[in-house]
Symmetry: C2
Subunit: 146 residues, 2 copies
């Protein structure tokens, strides 16, 4: 799991779409401006997310993107794994990697798998609905503070 710019952009995009869920499609331009993401880069990310079924799209005028499922049915884990790869270290899952020839003999593998399970337990239990609620709460608290 490597949260690169692409991963970060993807997660924030899904969160934004979650905030607009039910209100019709959101245009790439709106997203890219609001989230400060290069438009052309976001295009590609959205196409990836679409192929994975996280978002749906509609072309032409009044076109744009919308969430493919209810925010409560999309977990952070799903999206993260799709866009940022598995939580466990790449070496263990990379087929080309030959450092641990006899994989049953690698003492590190068990530990990484435990790390993986423990991280999965967390991120698989957070939905974008949860994150959205939290975000609204945070914004409110922030506003009142001023």
């Amino acid at each position: 799991m490597k949260i690169t710019y692409k991963s970060d952009y993807a997660l924030k995009t899904i969160l934004d779409l979650a905030a607009h869920f039910g209100n019709g499609p959101v245009a790439i331009n709106d997203l890219s401006q609001r989230l400060d993401i290069p438009t052309k880069f976001l295009e590609q990310i959205l196409l990836d997310l679409k192929r994975a079924g996280f978002v749906e799209s509609r072309r032409g005028k009044v076109g744009g993107y919308s969430l493919g499922r209810h925010p409560g049915k999309i977990t952070l884990g799903e999206v993260t794994r799709f866009i940022a790869g598995p939580v466990e270290p790449i070496a263990c899952v990379d087929k080309k990697y030959s450092g641990c020839q006899d994989i049953g003999k690698c003492v590190f593998r068990d530990v990484w798998e435990e790390v993986n399970r423990s991280a999965s337990r967390i991120i698989d239990n957070v939905t974008f609905e949860d994150l959205l609620k939290k975000s609204k709460k945070m914004n409110k608290a922030f506003t009142y503070q001023i």
Copy 2:
């Protein structure tokens, strides 16, 4: 935490040195042959590990590297964090990153921190002595199997 080739090499090197702990220094050439790591690359890794205090070195004839501390006093967490960076996603810890301006408002941060804590709990409780014991057990089991 990104287990690259370098990280992988480093962890295996420490484990090998743990296996030879107390028997005097091990030469880079021995390590590089046994672990199948490019010698010159391993040189650099060992220098890094030395600067961090994980290993000690001795030059000249009968020179080589040895563990700086008892294998039971070196945790997988320490070495991993040093060589592979923090467990949490880079965005959150990268100072140059400006995607989450108002860091108190980022809804993802809490989750990544929880992932981080949970992973740390695991890898900070595994020492190289533990890994070494496990490795010996595995090799024995493997031998008997044949």
